[in-house]
């Protein structure tokens, strides 16, 4: 166990360190969510004028919930890019050779993803508050919101690690991000679920990300809804993606 922890700590440290010292890695993960927040909360604010849109804290908070979860998911995606890059450069093979407990590598990358996302989360929350976001939820609700973000980040990071380890090339980037992107955008991003119509409504109803997004919005509004369901779904997702990542690692081990 101790060896597992050492490996995980080492890999996580490198991941966070590289993010902090390299603007090319850090800036996209900060800028993208900030611009999504600006574009959605700012550019689409008139959406809240449509009949039956009744989210009390306002459209900025409504969009913040989405951007917060999206940044958590993309924190994991960006880590997947880094894993793929490590395989392209040969560094990952060095890791496989050196690490006494290779599953610690996955844990390390996941921890690194969490570290990276926490930086982003602080920045976008500060930006949203500065833009006048209303938060009606109390301390416990905020802890719940952060918990949802952490779980989302974990699942996404494990998914991304798995793909990157299976394909072991930077060209895996599209395959890593596309499913995450689609799942997130097929949730009720711009309006509440009941205001969606057509095929998007049908898909969003079945999309597990919808429950998480509604839970996040409920926690910000101080009227929690579907929180337990969301945590259960995210925990199930994390278990599945952990198995996926482990299989990816085994594939990388076989490839040598």
């Amino acid at each position: 166990m101790r060896r597992f922890v050492y490996v995980a700590k080492g890999v996580a440290w490198r991941s966070v360190h590289n993010t902090l010292v390299s603007p090319a890695i850090l800036l996209p993960s900060l800028i993208f969510p900030l611009f999504f927040l600006a574009a959605f909360a700012g550019g689409l604010s008139r959406i809240s004028d449509i009949p039956n849109f009744d989210y009390k804290p306002g459209y900025t908070a409504f969009q913040f919930a989405f951007v917060f979860l999206q940044s958590a998911a993309f924190g994991g995606v960006f880590t997947g890019f880094a894993v793929a890059r490590d395989f392209d450069s040969g560094f990952a093979r060095r890791l496989l050779l050196t690490a006494p407990r290779r599953s610690g590598i996955i844990a390390g990358y996941a921890l690194g993803a969490l570290g990276r996302w926490l930086i982003t989360a602080v920045v976008i929350t500060t930006a949203a508050l500065a833009a006048g976001m209303n938060v009606s939820g109390g301390g416990i609700e905020i802890v719940g919101l952060i918990g949802l973000g952490i779980m989302m980040n974990l699942g996404s990071a494990l998914w991304a690690c798995g793909v990157a380890m299976f394909l072991r090339t930077e060209q895996a980037g599209a395959l890593i991000q596309m499913p995450v992107f689609i799942v997130l955008f097929l949730a009720p991003v711009y309006v509440p679920l009941r205001l969606l119509t057509g095929w998007v409504h049908a898909v969003a109803r079945l999309n597990p990300a919808t429950a998480t997004l509604e839970a996040a919005r409920g926690l910000i509004a101080g009227s929690p809804t579907k929180v337990a369901l969301s945590f259960a779904l995210l925990a199930g997702g994390a278990v599945l993606t952990a198995l996926w990542a482990r299989r990816g690692l085994a594939s990388a081990e076989r490839a040598g």
Binding site: R46, I182, L186
Partner: protein, 269 residues
């Protein structure tokens, strides 16, 4: 390894032949890496499919044009596709610089203008394919083109012109910085210009004042509105003049600067 030597008498190469040779290579590369085309082609279409439906409620805002949101949103994929053309043009050129292939070309009598034109020629072919696909998918999903068949053709011309201008930007970035990483690093910035425009709502319906200002001064708004006018309005002279005007300006500026950057990069004595 043995054969007789060969004396070769060479005439100065013709400019068009040089452009053709470089463009042929550029197209060949694209055709042989079809897989790389999938993401740039699919991504804007997926966003169009999702937003076209998910933002349907926006049509209920007072002042929104009397069309479906899908009609309104179809202009956006053309611009997003043009951004992907910019990135792929820049990445291809940067790869040539990084690998030394550019030096090999520099040792031939190839003119910088021919290299740039050839490279962009390949990008235009990609842009043509993309634009036709976006238009076909839009029409197939029920979007009507208010300006009719002629308008659809003008739409294709405008979108290809826009892609050409953005391809010039990609080439400029590659020639200026010389690495694919730098070119890709600019992609988020380019992408943001689409978000900070009238891509999601008409400018007069953007409520937040700073966003409205940015969208008004953002040339991408006028590129989108030029294309959009052909889809939802018909023949709108002002929107078209602004759309074509900004597209031409983009081409002139990016190609002009790319030409200078090419001269500096081809530091042959």
């Amino acid at each position: 390894m043995s054969a007789s030597p060969s004396a070769v008498a060479l005439a100065p190469p013709h400019l068009f032949e040089q452009v053709g040779a470089v463009a042929r290579r550029s197209v060949m590369r694209t055709v042989r890496q079809r897989g790389l085309l999938v993401f740039p082609l699919l991504f804007p279409l997926i966003l169009f499919a999702i937003n076209g439906s998910a933002l349907g409620a926006a049509t209920k805002i007072r002042g929104f044009p009397p069309v479906s949101y899908r009609d309104f949103a179809l202009a956006v994929p053309f611009i997003q596709g043009a951004l992907f053309v910019a990135v792929s043009t820049g990445t291809d050129l940067a790869r040539d610089i990084e690998s030394g292939f550019f030096d090999r070309l520099a040792l031939t009598p190839l003119r910088g203008s021919a290299l740039l034109a050839g490279q962009l020629g390949g990008s235009v072919v990609v842009a043509c394919v993309q634009s036709v696909v976006y238009l076909a998918v839009g029409v197939a999903s029920g979007v009507g083109i208010a300006s009719g068949f002629g308008g659809a053709l003008v739409l294709l011309v405008l979108s290809i012109l826009i892609a050409f201008g953005f391809a010039g930007l990609g080439a400029l970035l590659a020639l200026r910085f010389g690495t694919g990483e730098a070119v890709q690093g600019f992609f988020p910035l380019l992408f943001v210009t689409v978000f900070l425009s009238s891509s999601s709502l008409p400018r007069n319906l953007i409520q937040i004042s700073w966003f409205h200002e940015v969208a008004t001064y953002n040339p991408v708004s006028y590129l989108i509105e030029g294309i959009r006018s052909l889809i939802i309005t018909g023949w709108d002279a002002q929107a078209l003049a602004l759309g074509f005007g900004f597209a031409l300006l983009l081409c002139v500026l990016t190609l002009g600067f790319a030409g200078t950057a090419m001269k500096n990069r081809l530091v042959r004595t």
